[in-house]
Amino acid sequence: MASRSFKEALDSGDFVVTSEVGPPKGTNIEEMLHHIDLLKDKVDGINTTDNQSSVMRISSLAVCHLAQERGAEAILQVTCRDRNRMALESELLSANILGVHNVLCLTGDYVSVGDHPDAKPVFDLDSVHLIQTVRTMEQGKDIAGNELNGPTRFCVGAIVTPEANPIEPQLLKFEKKIRAGIDFVQTQAIYDLDNFKRFMQYARRFEVKILAGIILLTGVGMARYMNANVPGVVVPDQLIRELAGAPKGQALQTGIAIAGRMIRQIKDERICDGVHIMAIGHEGLVPQILETAGL
């Protein structure tokens, strides 16, 4: 599907599917390349994470470049944690000259949750500023007002947590992201489609494409872990029971079935514009999830 750009996919009105790969920690990239090859013709875009969970790894941009070379449509994730505004702008210029034209702007986790807890947390800009930065550079200027010799061009995205608690401050920021100028949103993982429909009733008023975040549940332990530890993610009891009731050794298959079923429902009922599938550590299973979803 990389025959069209991610932006073209968004504009087509088709149900859009993205997934993601996590750059490895170290120079061995074989498995990751395998995942990229597996996904590239099945999805409209592949996110590459940026030192995800504050763990130092290969840069998001380097992996985007490799993915593009292999024919994938890459979505550069950029967080504000590790770079000041100069480095961020420089990264955006670099992305464009390497043919990467999709960017997902994120705040980034705090350094203390990762593997370099003594590092300096930068956060010179926030995610709203980062979106503004991309848009400013498209006008041929950097954010200090200096002329660029050649503007950038990006399809810009952001994230939102529909189940954040409390939700009001989250939506206040979400609306700022929209005002700053985004094309698409990938949500934090959602599991309760009724809640998500309510969120979409609110979000529909904005002219922005929304892809629902689907994280593959690998078992009841993971579901409980997410409920206890991942902010803004709620796995309902009913799904936990379903995972717990899976025959021995079948929990992962049940997780795939749940993800496939949710995607199918989102698509059939046109709840939103697409899905973003995260199968953290099990990227190889994404094709199977898509198949289960009838995609």
Binding site: R81, T107, F123, D126, V128, N165, K173, E175, G232
Partner: protein, 229 residues
């Protein structure tokens, strides 16, 4: 006020071990309030050091003195002569106090006994919390008197990150998310519009290192009074 905490005793002991006559110098303002560097703490530290040096069979004399403010020449200059009697001054002031004392008695070593932590306020007895990062461009007027640069570990000025968990901060669940608190307070005041606009990135140029503040009016009077000098 400036909040500090005493350095580990062994570190202090090692630093003074090369000297014979040491003045343990307290500061009676901020660090006295946060129970790190006032008269009482000077007394305690000096007696601990005396005991330790006796056990180590070292002959170090530890004298005690506390002034109102070490960061102010008005209080440091009058004790200049006294300071000169010692090989070293062990200052229990914040970093600013230590440096000013060192500027005043350049030929005497001035050693810090505290780690300066932050600008903060008392939360409850014995607990102090950071409140200000001295950013030079205060936004408290818009944020309900809660500093997003300080209370949010990421210093986010446009609303919360995705890490807010039941109103707590992703960095530590013991702390409320700054943006939950700001939102709730402004909601109570009917002033949520304050934070709907997009706040610009922080101007780090306003935080020159080292910061310098000049009171023009005062400077003018001074210059006039001293014949243009």
């Amino acid at each position: 006020m400036i909040v500090g905490e005493r350095k580990p005793f062994d570190e202090i002991k090692a630093k003074v071990s090369d000297y014979r006559k040491v003045l343990v110098l307290g500061c009676g303002t901020c660090v006295a309030v946060c129970m790190a560097g006032g008269e009482k703490e000077v007394e305690l530290l000096a007696s601990q050091l005396r005991l330790a040096s006796r056990m180590d069979k070292k002959e170090i004399e530890f004298a005690e003195h506390t002034i109102v403010r070490q960061c102010d020449r008005e209080y440091t200059e009058p004790i200049l002569e006294k300071l000169g009697e010692y090989d070293a001054v062990l200052s229990l002031a914040c970093g600013a106090g230590v440096q000013l004392v060192s500027d005043v008695v350049e030929d005497v070593a001035v050693l810090p006994a505290l780690n300066t932590r932050f600008i903060g306020s008392t939360r409850e007895e014995g607990v102090w919390i950071e409140r200000c990062r001295s950013c030079g461009d205060c936004v408290l007027g818009d944020t309900g008197g809660i500093c997003p640069l300080t209370i949010c570990p990421k210093g986010l000025v446009n609303g919360p990150c995705g890490g807010t968990n039941d109103g707590k901060c992703e960095v530590t669940s013991e702390k409320d998310c700054a943006w939950t608190t700001i939102y709730n307070r402004l909601d109570k005041q009917g002033k949520l519009d304050n934070i709907r606009r997009i706040f610009s990135p922080i101007k780090y140029s306003a935080q020159t290192t080292p910061g310098l503040q000049v009171n023009e009016a005062y400077l003018k009077v001074e210059t006039e009074g001293t014949d243009g000098q």
